[in-house]
Symmetry: C2
Subunit: 252 residues, 2 copies
């Protein structure tokens, strides 16, 4: 029954790790859902007979994993899984050069291409309206001096598509992969693009949304793949971009 899966990164069953595992077992046992209250630190101290310091460290570990929401004065409660933790992990991997921006973008491509396919199957009417409105907004922002409005609409389209896929992992991973990229790539890509490039980008989004709204999964996936290959190609013209550029045709 004592299943040692080593909660954080510790191999010797330290006390705080055991406390953390106890908490996780408690959650699983009682089938707690996000928002549920968990025992206070002092309560666990008395229950398990360990010092408050050890319990605090366990709580801290679970809070870092996005499992517990801890606020001063309040009972700790379970948190909905959020992108913050994943974003931190990916951000750390990027900052320490364990992965590079191309890897992250490639993974986003995989997620978003499949997400577009699923979105075409599951998109709601309200989401269709929202998506079309965002495309209009994007196009009308083409003349803006700064690109903030266009970029905002761009991101909102991707987010909405991820939500429409009805797989909560899609918006989660999208946000988690996007955030660290923005921190690393300080240069605003939009500012370096030519007018014709910007128009092509808007057209690409238009095509994606159109295919999604039409319920055309294959076309939506192909349009999303093409969008990525177009953008990646204009960011850096290394041989890798050329490699992935051949794939989208296969999706059509």
């Amino acid at each position: 029954m004592a299943q040692l899966h080593s909660v954080p990164t510790l191999q010797k069953p330290t006390l705080s790790a055991q406390v953390a595992r106890h908490l996780l077992d408690l959650i699983a046992q009682q089938g707690l859902r996000p928002g549920a209250l968990v025992p206070s630190e002092v309560q666990i101290c008395k229950d398990l007979g360990v010092s408050r310091g050890s319990v605090r460290e366990a709580y801290r570990t679970l809070a870092a994993l996005g499992i517990l929401e801890i606020e001063s004065g309040r009972r700790p409660r379970l948190q909905s899984v959020s992108e913050h933790v994943l974003a931190q992990v990916f951000g750390y991997a990027l900052k320490t050069a364990q992965v590079n921006a191309t890897h992250v973008i490639d993974t986003r491509r995989a997620i978003e291409v499949q997400g577009a396919q699923l979105a075409a199957r599951n998109v709601t009417d309200a989401q269709k309206v929202s998506l079309r409105g965002l495309v209009d907004q994007m196009r009308s922002a083409l003349g803006d001096r700064d690109h903030s409005r266009r970029v905002t609409a761009d991101m909102a389209i991707h987010t909405t598509l991820a939500e429409a896929s009805c797989n909560p992992l899609n918006p989660l991973l999208l946000a988690a992969l996007r955030a660290p990229l923005e921190q690393v790539m300080l240069i605003d890509l939009g500012n370096r693009r030519s007018e014709s490039e910007l128009i092509r980008i808007v057209d690409a989004h238009d095509a994606i949304v159109e295919r999604v709204c039409a319920g055309d999964a294959v076309g939506a996936g192909a349009a999303m793949a093409m969008h990525f290959d177009l953008s990646v190609g204009s960011i850096s013209t290394n041989e890798h971009a050329a490699v992935t550029a051949e794939v989208p045709a296969s999706l059509a």
Copy 2:
């Protein structure tokens, strides 16, 4: 300069959160890489003038995120990004019913289809040999009473393909999505399959490996997609499986 990105899950800049951010800044400033040593707790205490308890909590947070490797008696050092943290997050999402097994498998499908495409481009000769050997091993294990040998080879094929994709995020996410599934789906799927199903599964892996070794990105992706749809369809025949089952043909 004071960029408040809220390290863990705390909005009020608590002391320990500030310490954690200080550590991260230190890492970024000095361009530290995995394996590098970071200051000890006591050192940071003296440097920042905070109590050891607060510093400990910060270190604990970073350890939970897989950034620091902390062991008794040793100076803490930077860790290579590992799947453990991601697996914990996904496992928590699964256990609290924020996502279900289908979502996880769908995401794996997206990752692995693209991974197979990239693997076909980047696979090394040594990996080709290894992959072919694993397929042989899988086929020769068809007659085994228990399925452990076949399952082991199966997983090794997927892992090797992910590594061959030359995107470190692929093996990372594959492992992170696979581990929690194994904990949740206690029923050994292999034991419920018929002989003909098992043969089809081996053939599917054979086809994937063959396309990868031939450098056929499109075919490799299609074969991987077909493998997933075949397996998912036999796991549960809900309408969702039917939906995704139509996609693979488009990839061919």
